[in-house]
């Protein structure tokens, strides 16, 4: 386990905590990741920005990295 692994674990834990907090408090008090992503899906421009990021991530993960 390297120092970088520890930092990534802390960031992943923070991400999970944010998701749990938003689920517990509800979208009106704490918008979750679905509400943030859903804001992008309101228009064609936002939707295609999100789809471009998704396609880029997929290409990078499944075609470039080991």
């Amino acid at each position: 386990v390297t120092a970088g692994d520890v930092v990534w674990a802390v960031l992943a834990a923070a991400l999970v905590a944010m998701v749990v907090i938003s689920l517990v408090l509800g979208p009106s008090r704490m918008p979750g990741i679905a509400q943030v992503a859903g804001w992008f899906l309101r228009s064609w421009l936002g939707r295609f920005l999100a789809l471009a990021a998704w396609a880029g991530a997929g290409w990078h993960l499944f075609c470039q990295r080991p």
């Binding site: 390297t2 970088g4 008090r29 918008p31 859903g38 998704w54 290409w59 990078h60 499944f62 990295r65």
Partner: protein
């Protein structure tokens, strides 16, 4: 006197009972009276014309709505099973350099983009210009939002900035002790099951980004246009 005879005598006047026409009508009425009564029977045009009011839960629109709501669920279940099977039987066994991996990612992206264009035609909630103006107002701090939303947005922005920033630091350092995010995920996708699960999750995310968050099509369920519909 049985309830059926009582209903017949109440609705047919005795002066007309002898005529042949009335006999025929009385037969019809007697047949109608054999139906089980529900308490919702009503006279519409007179004593000989009866209409059974449909039960509230069995109207045509409601029935169609019930059947229609099952179709997306079935499509989702079948598609999900297909994606899982493809992920575990095919994609999990590919390597990053293989032509099959490139082809499956390219085909998935093409299918999702085409599905987004076809399914989303006329169903975006806002025009892009309005959405862009709203984004500009949010970035410049001129958007009217409640404190809870502002706190949430700040928290998410800080977290996402930390993720991107640390990934950038790790990438620029190019050290063994500081792996990038893709290298961390690469440890998972090196295995067949890990690659299959991550691929299936990626397809599910793309499907939601392509098809989710749509406005309801005009007149689909209520017959009234969705106020947020953009054609």
């Amino acid at each position: 006197m049985s309830p059926r005879n009582a209903a017949t005598k109440m609705t047919i006047p005795s002066t007309e009972r002898k005529s042949a026409t009335d006999t025929m009508l009385r037969r019809n009425l007697s047949k109608r009276c054999r139906r089980p009564t529900t308490g919702r029977e009503q006279n519409v045009n007179g004593p000989y014309t009866r209409r059974i009011a449909p039960p509230e839960h069995a109207d045509a629109a409601g029935g169609r709505r019930t059947r229609r709501s099952l179709v997306p669920f079935l499509v989702l279940a079948v598609t999900g099973a297909g994606v899982l099977a493809f992920s575990f039987l095919y994609e999990g066994h590919r390597t990053t350099a293989s032509t099959g991996a490139h082809l499956s990612v390219a085909v998935t992206v093409a299918v999702v983009v085409v599905a987004a264009l076809v399914a989303g035609r006329g169903r975006q909630r806002e025009p892009s210009r309005t959405w862009l103006a709203e984004a500009r107002r949010a970035v410049s701090g001129r958007a009217h939002s409640d404190p809870a939303t502002t706190r949430a947005v700040v928290a998410w922005v800080v977290l996402i900035a930390a993720l991107i920033g640390w990934d950038l630091v790790s990438f620029l350092a190019a050290a063994h002790d500081l792996p990038t995010l893709s290298r961390e995920i690469g440890r998972v996708t090196q295995t067949v099951a890990g690659r299959a699960v991550v691929f299936a999750a990626w397809v599910a995310l793309g499907t939601w980004l392509g098809l989710g968050g749509r406005a309801r099509r005009r007149g689909a369920a209520t017959g009234t246009p969705d106020p947020g519909e953009v054609r």
